[in-house]
């Protein structure tokens, strides 16, 4: 068997290590090498209960982007959610953004229903039509205390 030099073996080791690092950061960490494939829109909600930065943004159940940041607008006390959306997904200006839950106790996500308008949202666009998160706890308590049927 040919004896490899120490440099070669160290080189192979570093290469394998770097491959693992690359797998972790690019595939699992979803690091964007270019970062230019998204545009940003925002929407204001009454209640975002449980939505977190990096939650997914979906349309018809398909992920089209991610939540970037959630801030409180102190003027009218609304939660402003900033999202990045893939460039190849156009969103109309009358689209409806709502906060949904996957499963009964699953993660919160933003669901966007397409609108009918010809005007498309560009970089920095704002969705005006929003539906807040359904507060399951208050729904359950209403059901338990019997005020849901009234």
């Amino acid at each position: 068997m040919k004896k490899y030099s120490q440099e070669t073996i160290v080189g192979i080791f570093v290469l394998i290590g770097l491959l693992c690092v690359a797998y972790l950061t690019i595939k699992l960490g979803k690091m964007e090498l270019l970062g230019g494939n998204y545009y940003h829109i925002s929407a204001a909600f009454d209640n975002v209960g449980g939505l977190k930065p990096d939650s997914s943004v979906q349309m018809a159940g398909v992920e089209i982007g991610r939540v970037q940041s959630i801030k409180l607008d102190t003027e009218n006390y609304m939660a402003v959610v900033r999202m990045k959306i893939k460039k190849n997904v156009p969103i109309q200006e009358d689209a409806i953004a709502s906060i949904k839950t996957s499963g009964l106790i699953g993660d919160k996500y933003v669901s966007i229903q397409p609108g009918g308008s010809d005007e498309l949202l560009g970089e920095g666009g704002v969705i005006t039509d929003t539906e807040s998160a359904v507060d399951i706890e208050s729904l359950i308590s209403k059901y338990v205390f019997g005020s849901v049927k009234k």
Partner: protein
């Protein structure tokens, strides 16, 4: 309480004296380690660059730990898959297995177990090697030949640790996830698509950078402590010669392990 000192004033004074001694000793030891680290670290960048010595140390610290890290990573992942499955199946959410395995590996077990294994494999021998060089007066010989022993012995080891630790941690994570796949998907029948998609969904960039920050900090910590213990073998109060080397090796391993686990807690609380 000191039983032999009956007079109240004397024993109190002695206690305060003892407390002061201990404090001064600990603080000066910490300061010595800090100076040792800064000196050794800055000498990495001194010219001429010691490329060959660093490669040799990467070979020793990194390449030779490759197999043991792979083995430990595989079995850690497999046992995580097994344990996670039996906990999650009670709630009918065994689909979360991938996320549980991947997150616990990347955030916590990868960096810590890798560091502990390298301490056991490489850290102990670093301390023993430098310790024996010290007691057989080879370090003094280096000094006499106008070779800076810190630059010659300590800096390449610190540099090699900085390179090896994150790479080995990444290897540990990837192989651990593979191990989780083996038990979770092949043995216990979790859907493989769900397994991997849960991993992709739940792991975010912050988890991975957090893991790498941890492993870098551990690299600095472990290499510094092990080199320091070996380098100052001759100043140990416990004994000189072979006894001193054995004590230095033991305390290098023990102190590094304790530091890694304590710093891991502190870092986790900062990174969360």
């Amino acid at each position: 309480m000191n039983p032999e000192s009956v007079e109240g004033q004397g024993s109190l004074l002695r206690f305060i004296n003892w407390l002061g001694q201990i404090t001064i000793k600990i603080v000066s030891e910490l300061g010595a380690i800090a100076i040792f680290f800064v000196y050794g670290f800055t000498l990495i960048f001194s010219l001429p660059f010691q490329f060959r010595k660093i490669v040799q140390q990467i070979y020793f610290i990194g390449v030779k730990s490759f197999l043991i890290i792979s083995l430990i990573g595989l079995f850690t992942g497999m046992v995580l898959g097994l344990q996670g499955y039996y906990s999650l199946v009670k709630f009918g959410s065994e689909g979360m297995l991938g996320a549980a395995v991947a997150l616990s590996l990347i955030r916590e077990l990868g960096p810590v177990l890798t560091a502990l294994m390298i301490i056991g494999r490489a850290g102990s021998s670093i301390a023993a090697e430098i310790g024996i060089m010290r007691i057989s007066e080879q370090i003094d010989a280096l000094d006499t030949m106008d070779i800076n022993p810190m630059r010659y012995l300590v800096s390449p080891r610190i540099a090699a640790s900085i390179i090896s630790f994150p790479l080995l941690t990444a290897l540990f994570d990837v192989i651990g996830i593979l191990g989780g796949y083996l038990t979770g998907v092949l043995l216990l029948g979790v859907n493989s698509g769900i397994f991997f998609n849960r991993i992709y969904d739940s792991v975010v960039a912050k988890d991975i950078t957090g893991g790498f920050i941890k492993s870098l900090v551990f690299a600095l910590l472990v290499s510094t402590i092990c080199c320091y213990q070996g380098y100052f073998t001759h100043m140990r109060p416990g004994g000189y010669g072979a006894k001193g080397v054995s004590l230095a090796t033991t305390s290098a391993v023990v102190i590094s392990c304790v530091c890694v686990l304590v710093v891991d807690y502190v870092l986790t609380s900062f990174l969360l």
